[in-house]
Amino acid sequence: MFELPARMTQLQANIRAGDVSVQDALFAQVNRGRSLNAQFPCVVEELSLTTPLDGPLSGIALAHKDIFQLTDREPGCGVGMGLAQKGVKPAKANLALQQAGASQWATLVMAPHACGATSQNKHFARCINPTDADAAVGGSSSGSAVAVAAGMSYAAMGTDTAGSVRIPAATCGLMGLKTTHGAVSTQGCAPLAPSLDSVGILSRFPQDAREIWAALCPQIPRKLAKQSSNCQLWLPEKGVAPSVSQAIRTWITQLDANVSFIHMDESFDVLNRHAQRVLFYETAQTHHAALKQGSVEPGVQAIGLMGLGLPHSWYQESMHSRPFLLQDFVNQHFSNADFLIVPSLADPVPDWHTVEIGHPSFDRAALFAMHRFMGFVNYLGLPSLNLPIGRDLRGRAICVQVLARPFAEHQLLNFAEQSPFVFWNL
């Protein structure tokens, strides 16, 4: 049987060169995915492959978070198996990948209703982190991270409302691209907080993420990489583990970039509060009926009830301030710089049981450290890339987030390609 290469772009080249047929490539990927799923269970449902369309992704079999509608199938959203239903149309994001030639062989587990910073989910087997079995897997796109890190799918789509692509990517040493709000349609994707929801991409390599991004947003032209970038770096003095700070400081000395340290503690704090107001309020609206009936998942309940108790005027104020705060933020951080670098996880990747609610060793602070730096980005609507930049003493990934102007996803991926650290040395 054809031996699959490490990178999706290599397989695309093999297919283009006629080294392997589209059918054989698909067969090899599905077989590999199936076999790895026994070790790293993250598949909700295996799908039958249809004949792919001609396109740059012909012969690529992917798996995605089970939050997207598919042809004649409603998603399970992390609480069940999905529902066969005639007439259901695929989500626009899935359709865009299909039109580029991609196939989908499986749907992947996720935190219930995309509401959770970890993979905790009583409806499915616990997610095992392929990079370290004791390490936590972040959520809510947990299955997407496991599938990509295990090698079951070269890339996977997830969604990100308050870190749900970047957190799982950070725990598994992956690229995790949260796209600009609205750049990829969320039509056909189960909502959580629509003002914050964005489709995202997880992959091992930036080149593979770029192929998916180009298929999702073909109208945005690819950019040539700049020789040397100007970056701002925010390393908060408090609340970031010394080992994380040190790894970031070491990494920037190896970067071919001009890096200036900045302080943004106050503006971050205000943005974060606005982000939480919007998250709470809109989650409550999305799950209003279930909250009132008391039939809601624990993660949704924790956030949704806070949303029901939030005055509508507070939500309105946060939504009204949003464009002004975005404008200020862009002026302040991207007038003279291409990128803003901030930590991803505030602490090293924790052991899974320390962030498992209800486990005797559960540590609330460890859970908070996983999502602390995430929500404000969704409030601003900006693109952000989780990028592995080092390893801790246990070999687990240490990551940063790289933020850029709206629709600068190609530039973010260029930056990642130039990063001196490589997590997946394959």
Partner: protein, 67 residues
């Protein structure tokens, strides 16, 4: 300056009204947690309250893309 007790009472009242608007009757524990949450989510008074944004948020994102 309002006392801690007055602040606390004000947030309980705010949360109570918000729950009522949503036709939801919280338990005492949920009400207290919500009041605490509101205290945490206070923001400085908005400098933008009297300004009208130009266009919608999506248009602004597009306009801020790199030229």
């Amino acid at each position: 300056m309002p006392t801690d007790f007055e602040l606390h009472s004000a947030f309980i009242e705010l949360a109570k009204n918000a729950f009522a608007e949503q036709a939801y009757e919280p338990t005492d524990a949920i009400l207290m947690a919500s009041a605490k949450n509101l205290a945490r989510l206070q923001t400085p008074s908005s400098a933008f309250a009297h300004l009208t944004p130009d266009g919608n948020f999506s248009d602004l994102l597009k306009s801020l893309a790199h030229v």
